[in-house]
Amino acid sequence: MRKLAALFGVFVAIFALYVLQKSLPTYGDITSPIAVFGKTGERVTARNFELTVTQLRFARNIKLTAFGNERSYGTSGIWAIVDAEAAARNETVTLMSAAWLGADGLRYLASERIGNAPGLLGRQQLEPGLPQRVLMIFEFPESEMNKGTLLVARYPFQPLDNELRIAMESSSAPVIHDQVTLERGRSDVDWSVTIQ
């Protein structure tokens, strides 16, 4: 009887270890960024910055007017143009990481194809007390445009720092514009986004 109990104890221990192995978070999980959830139109606050998504547009083509030149950027998927207002909280920051997380879990980093686009998030020095209009541009397949999540963080990988996860609410049949025009003005803050 005693041997049987010991054997049972060993099996219980093995089972407990198996459950622990399968359920314990990995080192990556423990040190991953700390998510702050929000949605379009509301101010979402991280430790160092805050961001409000003001508008989301989809387009098949982007026309950029800058420094007297015009250039068109097409895509085999679609462009997502995210307008937002961002500010630092206590110290100057630059937000180097923006990504679109599709409903199926694929992650698309902000496009660097349109390097001259105005107001690009990663190129703005955000100052405390001075909210600033910023732009994020993504390029992905049309199938990814519904139920996407915008991920914004200070750095692409910063363990234990905040990462904003903003649900990008679009209507059940989001409008895809033929063309969106980005126009750069004379100063860094002077730019516009228009639909054609």
């Binding site: 206590n90 110290e91 100057t92 020095q125 100052e127 405390p128 007390g129 001075l130």
Partner: protein
């Protein structure tokens, strides 16, 4: 010694050994963290010099240029360092920020904005704090520096916080 005494003795040793291991492993990290913080200020009252990092630092002026939107302003800080130990002055990269004497800190602009250069053309004759520490300097020389910050126009009282990597956690406040 009985088994029971071994058990309690080992448990007591663990109570000492575990915190000691944590402290030993964390010591270097704690030192690295401390060396990156600005904890002990050396405060220079307006116009008065203070010695820090092989030089005597003095603020010459803080100017505010309110932007067209009336909400933001460029803050131009002009300051100088009279070098008496060039090696100590150039020992570590200069880190500079504008503070509101509270929690908020503004980093300098990477390039001087057009509006500021137009209002104060003499800014081109001055170097930045980071640029000054990599340029060869001689003892007795006075290095003129300027930095530009962008901050809300409603804030009018600022300090300039300067620190060198090799001298942190002590840092300089030019008031």
């Amino acid at each position: 010694m009985s088994e029971r005494r071994y058990f309690w003795g080992s448990l007591a040793a663990l109570l000492v050994a575990v915190p000691a291991a944590i402290a030993l492993r964390g010591y270097d990290s704690a030192l690295a963290w401390r060396a990156n913080q600005e904890l002990y200020p050396l405060i220079a009252e307006p116009g008065k010099p203070v010695r820090y990092g092989g030089a005597e630092w003095r603020i010459e002026g803080l100017y505010q240029l309110v932007g067209q939107d009336k909400k933001s302003a460029y803050i131009l800080a002009e300051f100088e360092a009279k070098i008496d130990d060039p090696a100590a002055f150039a020992a570590g990269a200069c880190q500079i920020a504008l503070t509101d004497r509270g929690e908020k800190r503004w980093s300098p602009q990477f390039l001087p904005p057009y509006e500021v250069r137009k209002a104060r053309p003499s800014i081109d004759e001055r170097t930045t704090c980071g640029g000054a520490t990599i340029k060869p300097v001689k003892a007795g020389e006075t290095v003129k520096m300027a930095e530009i910050f962008r901050a809300p126009s409603e804030i009018t009282k600022f300090d300039l916080a300067i620190s060198q990597a090799t001298l942190r956690p002590s840092y300089l406040i030019l008031r």
